[in-house]
Amino acid sequence: MIELLTQPWSWWFSGAMIAAIMFFLLFFGQSFGFSSNLRTICSAAGLGKTNKFFDFNWRSQMWNLVFLIGAILGGFLTKQFLSTDAPVQIAQSTIEDLSRLGIGAPESLQPAEIFGLEAMLSLKGFMILAFGGLMVGFGSRYAGGCTSGHAISGLSDLQIPSLIAVIGFFAGGLIMTFLILPLIF
C-alpha cells in the first residue's frame, strides 16, 4: 500500500482526487479557489486601510487560509513520508528542449537551475522568481481566479468567463515558453 502511495500518482487518480476536493468544499458550503487567499492575506496584513480593494471582512475567508496551511502541511508530509524524491519522468522531447535552454534533465521534483539555493541568491535567479510570482499574483486577481477557480471550478460549472480565462492562461504560457524563456535562459 505504502509502496503504491510513494510512487508518482496516475493522472486519472490525481484528477479524480482534485474533483473530490472541489465537491467536498462545495458540500462544506465553500468553493474551490486558491488565489483568493492572496487577496485575503493582503487584507489581513492591514492593506485595506490604504486600498479599498483589500477592505473587506477577511475573517470570513479564514476557512481558505486554513486550507492553505493544510496545503503546506501536505507538501511537508509528502516529502517526509510519501516521497522517493525520484526524478520527474517527463517526456524525452521536453528534456531535449530544456537542455537547449541550459536546464538539465530532472534529478528531483524541481530544476536546481531555478529553485536551487545558488540560483535563488543570484540576481538573475531572484528576478525570475520575483517576476514569475508578480505576474501570477497580478494576473490571477485581474482574471478573478487561478487554475483552481477558473480551470477546475469555473469550467465544471460551464462558465464562459472561465473558458476565456483558461484560453488566456495558455496564451500567456505559450508566449513565455516559446518566445520569452529562450531570451532569459
Binding site: S14, G15, L47, L73, F76, L134, S153, P161, L174
Partner: protein, 137 residues
Amino acid sequence: MKFIKFLLLGIVFGIVMTKSEAVSWFRIQEMFRFQAFHMYGIIGTAVTLGVSGVALIKKFKIRDYQGNPIVFSPKDKSVSRYLLGGSIFGLGWALSGACPGPMVVNVGYGYWAMAIVFFFALVGTYLYGVVKNKLPH
C-alpha cells in the same frame, strides 16, 4: 474545530498536487510544449467529473452539510479582463512553473525559493488592487 475539515482537505490537496507532480516546473513546461498527456489528463479528469457532478448537484438540488442550497454564482460577463488577466497569469505560470496553490505546497516540500515566488504573488495581487480602476474590465 469547524476548520479541521478544511485543514484535512488542504493536506489532501498538498499531497495530491505533489504526488501527481503537478507542482513541478518540469511538468508545467511539458504541458505548455504539448509533449505529454499527463497534465491534460489531470485537469481533464477533474473537469469531466466536475461538470458531471455540478450538473447532478443542480438537477437534484443537492444541499450542503448544513442544509443550505449549493449555489453557483455566474461570473461577471467580460472578455478583456479574463483574456488579459489570464494571459498575465499564464506568463507567470510558465516562468515560475507554479500557480498559487502549488507555490505553498512547494514551500512545505522544502523548496524555499517558492516562498519568494509566493511573496511576490502577494505583491502582484496588491499592485492589481492599486491599478485596478485604470484597467479594462
